[in-house]
Amino acid sequence: MNLQLIPAPDMLGLPAHPVLLLVLLNATLALHWVFVGAVLGGTLIVLHNAVTGRGDATRARLNQAILSFLPFMLSMGVTLGVAPLLFVQVLYGHFFYAANVMMALWWLLIIPLVVGTTYLFYVAKLRLSAGRALGPLLPAILAGMLLVLAMILSGNMTLFQTPSAWESVWRLHGAGFFHGGGMVGRVIFAVFGFAALGAMFVLFLGKMGLAYDEEADRAAIEIGLRAAPVCIGLQLAAGILLVVLLPAEQRKAVFNGSLVSLFSVLSIGCLAGSLVLFVKARKSPTLSALVVPTAVYVVGLILIAFARDGIRRAALAPHFQLGELAIHPQWGPFALFLGMLVVAAAAVITLLRLARQTE
C-alpha cells in the first residue's frame, strides 16, 4: 500500500500514559456494549414476541414494559459510547479519522439512525399503551436499524485497523467498507453477544418485577433464561471461529502467551462459565443465581474489549505502535476528571435513593 496515506499521529502527544488511556477506553467500551447490547437484544426479544406471541396479551404487556425502558437504555448506551469515542481518538485518532472520512456517509448515517430508533421506540410503546396491537413490522424495522448501526461501527473499526484496504475502499467512495470477511465475523460475534445481553436485561426486568404484572414478569424470566445461554453459546462459537479466521499476525497475538492471550482465554472462560451458570439457574432462578452469571458475563465482555484491543494493536503494528507516542501528562485535568467521576457517581447514587422515597 501507499504508506504516505497513513496520517502522522497527533503532534500534541498523549495526555497520559497509554496504559491508563487503554484501561479507560476498554472499560467504558464494555459498559457501552452492555447498554447498546440490551437495546439490540431487547428489540430482538420484542420482535420474537411480536412474531410468536400474536394475540397473547401477556407477551404484549411484556413488550410494552421492555419498550418503555429501551429509550433510556439507548440514551445511556449512546452516552456511554462517548467515553470510548474520546479515548479511541486520543490513542488511534489518525487511523480512526481516516476510516471515518472514507466511509463518511455511512458514518454520518449513525445519527439519524440513532435518533430515528429512539423515537420509533416511543411510537411502538405508545401503540401498545393505547391498547393497539404491535405487529412484527415495527420491531423488525427497529432491529434492522440497530443491526445497520452495529455494522457501521464494526465496519469502521475493521477498516481503521486495515490500512491495506484503504485505497480500494476510498476508490469506491467508502461503499466497500464491509470488505473481506473480517467485519462480517465481528458483527455476527457482536450481535450474538448483544442478543445475550438483551436476554439478561429482560430476565432482570422480570426478576425485579418491572415487567408490567406478575404474569409478564414470569414470561420475561422464562424467555430470558431460555435465550441467554443459547446466545452465549452462539457467541462463543462465533468468537472461536473469528479468532481462527484472523490474519496470521493478528492470530499470533492471541496465541503467543502475551497478556492478549491471557485476556482471550479468560474471556472464553467467563463466557463458558456464565453459560453453564445460566443453564443451572433454570432450576431455581433466585436473584443471586442470576446475578452471578450476569456479572461473570460482563467481566468476560471487559476482557473481550481488552483482547480485541490487543489484536488491533497487532494489526497496526507494522505501521504504528503506541509506544512511539510522546507522553505529556496532564495530571491536573486528569484530577478534574477523576473528581467529577466521583461527584457523578455520588450524584447517581443520590438520585437513585431519592427515586425510592415513595410517599
Binding site: Q4, P71, F72, V78, L85, V90, M102, A104, G332, A355
Partner: protein, 444 residues
C-alpha cells in the same frame, strides 16, 4: 491535510456541521434553562401545595424537557461524527488538548440522563421534596456541562496565552480570555430560551388555570431578564477577540458586521420586551408576543454563534491551525508534515496524498490535474467548485491566467478570511492551470 477529503456536494462540510450543531446548541441550552424553570416552579408549588401548577409542570417535563433532550444528546454526539469527517486535524488537536475536560463533561452527561428519566417517570410517585431534589441535581449538572463545553469552544477563537505543550496548557486554554463573558452569556440565554418557551406554552394552552398561568408567566419573565446582561457581555467578548476578528465585525466583513449588530439588537429587544411585559403586568401572554420573544432569543443567539465561527477565519484554531488543517509557526516545532513552513518547501500535496487520483503520484499528473489535486488539498475545506457553498467558479468568472496567478501570492492580504496559499510555486502554477478552466461564465 493528511486525511482523506470529505466533500458534501453543494453544501460543503461547514454547512453540515451547522445543520447538526444549530439544533443541538439550542436544545442543549434550552434544557439547561428548562431544568431551572422546573426546579424553581416545582419548589414553589410544593411549598404552596399547588396541585394545578404541578400538573402543568408534569406535562412540561415530558414534552418540553425529555423528548427534545434526547434529540439534543444525540445531535451532540452527531457533532463529533461530523467534525471528525470535516476537520479531522482540528478535532484531533482539540481532543489531545482537552480530553480530560470532555471526559469530565461526559461524567455529567451520565448524571443528566439518569436524572432526566427519573424526574419524568417519578412524578407523583415519590415524595415531592425528593422529586424536586432530582431536578436541582439535573440543573446543577447540566450547568456544569455548559461551563465545561464553553471553556473548550471559546478557546478556539481566543486561545490567550496557550502555547502547544507549554506548562498548564489545559488551564490556560480553558480559562481563555473569552471564557467568562461567553459562559455567562450562554447561561443567561439558556434561562431566556426556557422562559420564552414557557410563555408560548402559556399562550397556547388555554385550559391552564389563570393562577397557574400567572405564576409560570412571572417566573418566565424573571428568567428572561438576565438576557439583558448580554448587552454588556457581547461587547465584553468582542473586546477580547483578536484584532483581525474585531476588524471583521467593524466593517471588514459585512456579513459579520450585520450579524453582530443584529445579535445586539435582538438581545436588546428581548430585554425590552420582557421589561415592558413585566411593567404592564402582562400575565396572559399572547402567542404573537411569546413567539417574538423566542424569535429574539433564538436569532440573537444564532447571530452570536455565527459571528463566533465566522470571525475565526482563516483559522479553525486561532493562530495555530488554518481551516485547511495546516499549522502555523506555532506548530512548527511539532508538526513535521503539514506545517506551513514544511509545505512551502515540499508542497501541499506532500501532506495530502489523498487528493491525488488513486494510484497516481504527483509526477504522473498533467498540470491541470495536479492543480485540481492542489485545489482539493488547499481550498476545498471552504470552497465548493462550481455551485454551492462559497463556490469558486462564480468568483473567478472572467479572470485571466495572470490575474489568477498573481492573486495566489496575495490572496490572504486581499481577503483576510483566507489563509496564505500553503504550497510551492510549482503548485501555484498548477492551480492556476486548473482554475483557468473555471473562468468562463456558465461553463461548468
Amino acid at each position: 491535510m493528511e486525511y482523506p477529503i470529505f466533500n458534501l456536494p453543494f453544501f460543503g462540510g461547514s454547512l453540515l456541521i451547522a445543520a447538526i450543531a444549530i439544533p443541538h446548541v439550542f436544545i442543549a441550552q434550552f434544557s439547561v434553562g428548562a431544568s431551572f424553570l422546573l426546579a424553581l416552579a416545582e419548589r414553589r408549588a410544593n411549598r404552596e401545595g399547588d396541585a394545578a401548577t404541578r400538573a402543568f409542570l408534569k406535562t412540561y417535563a415530558f414534552t418540553v424537557l425529555l423528548v427534545p433532550y434526547v434529540l439534543g444528546a444525540m445531535t451532540g454526539v452527531g457533532i463529533w461524527f461530523a467534525t471528525s469527517v470535516v476537520s479531522p486535524r482540528a478535532i484531533s488537536s482539540m481532543i489531545h488538548l482537552f480530553v480530560w475536560g470532555w471526559a469530565a463533561e461526559w461524567t455529567m452527561f451520565i448524571v443528566d440522563i439518569v436524572a432526566i428519566y427519573l424526574y419524568v417517570y417519578t412524578w407523583d410517585r415519590i415524595r415531592p421534596f425528593a422529586h424536586n431534589a432530582i431536578c436541582w441535581i439535573l440543573a446543577a449538572t447540566s450547568t456544569v456541562t455548559l461551563i465545561l463545553i464553553n471553556g473548550i469552544l471559546s478557546f478556539m477563537l481566543t486561545p490567550g496565552s496557550w502555547e502547544p505543550l507549554a506548562p498548564y496548557g489545559f488551564w490556560k486554554a480553558f480559562f481563555n480570555p473569552s471564557f467568562w463573558p461567553t459562559t455567562l452569556m450562554r447561561f443567561s440565554v439558556s434561562l431566556a430560551l426556557a422562559g420564552a418557551v414557557a410563555l408560548l406554552l402559556m399562550a397556547l394552552m388555554r385550559t391552564v388555570p389563570a393562577a397557574v398561568r400567572e405564576k409560570i408567566t412571572r417566573l418566565a419573565y424573571k428568567m428572561m431578564l438576565p438576557a439583558l446582561a448580554c448587552l454588556v457581555l457581547l461587547p465584553w467578548a468582542f473586546s477580547v477577540i483578536p484584532d483581525r476578528s474585531q476588524r471583521f465585525i467593524q466593517g471588514g466583513a459585512i456579513a459579520m458586521t450585520l450579524f453582530f449588530a443584529m445579535g445586539m439588537a435582538c438581545f436588546g429587544l428581548l430585554a425590552l420586551g420582557t421589561i415592558l411585559a413585566m411593567v404592564r403586568r402582562e400575565w396572559n401572554p399572547s402567542v404573537l408576543g411569546a413567539s417574538l420573544l423566542i424569535f429574539f432569543a433564538f436569532v440573537g443567539y444564532a447571530c452570536f454563534e455565527f459571528v463566533r465561527e465566522g470571525v475565526r477565519k482563516p483559522y479553525v484554531l486561532e493562530g495555530f491551525m488554518y481551516s485547511t488543517g495546516v499549522t502555523t509557526e506555532k506548530g512548527q516545532a511539532l508538526d513535521k508534515r503539514a506545517n506551513e513552513a514544511v509545505l512551502r518547501e515540499k508542497g501541499v500535496l506532500s501532506a495530502e496524498p489523498w487528493a491525488l487520483p488513486s494510484g497516481k503520484t504527483v509526477a504522473d499528473l498533467p498540470p491541470q490535474e495536479k492543480g485540481h489535486a492542489v485545489f482539493k488539498a488547499a481550498c476545498a475545506a471552504c470552497h465548493q467548485i462550481h455551485v454551492g457553498y462559497n463556490a469558486v467558479q462564480p468568483l473567478v468568472w472572467g479572470w485571466t491566467r495572470e490575474n489568477l496567478r498573481s492573486y495566489l501570492d496575495v490572496m490572504h492580504e486581499h481577503r483576510p478570511m483566507m489563509p496564505p496559499f500553503p504550497g510551492t510555486d510549482a503548485e501555484k502554477d498548477a492551480l492556476t492551470a486548473y482554475m483557468a478552466t473555471l473562468t468562463q461564465r456558465g461553463k461548468l
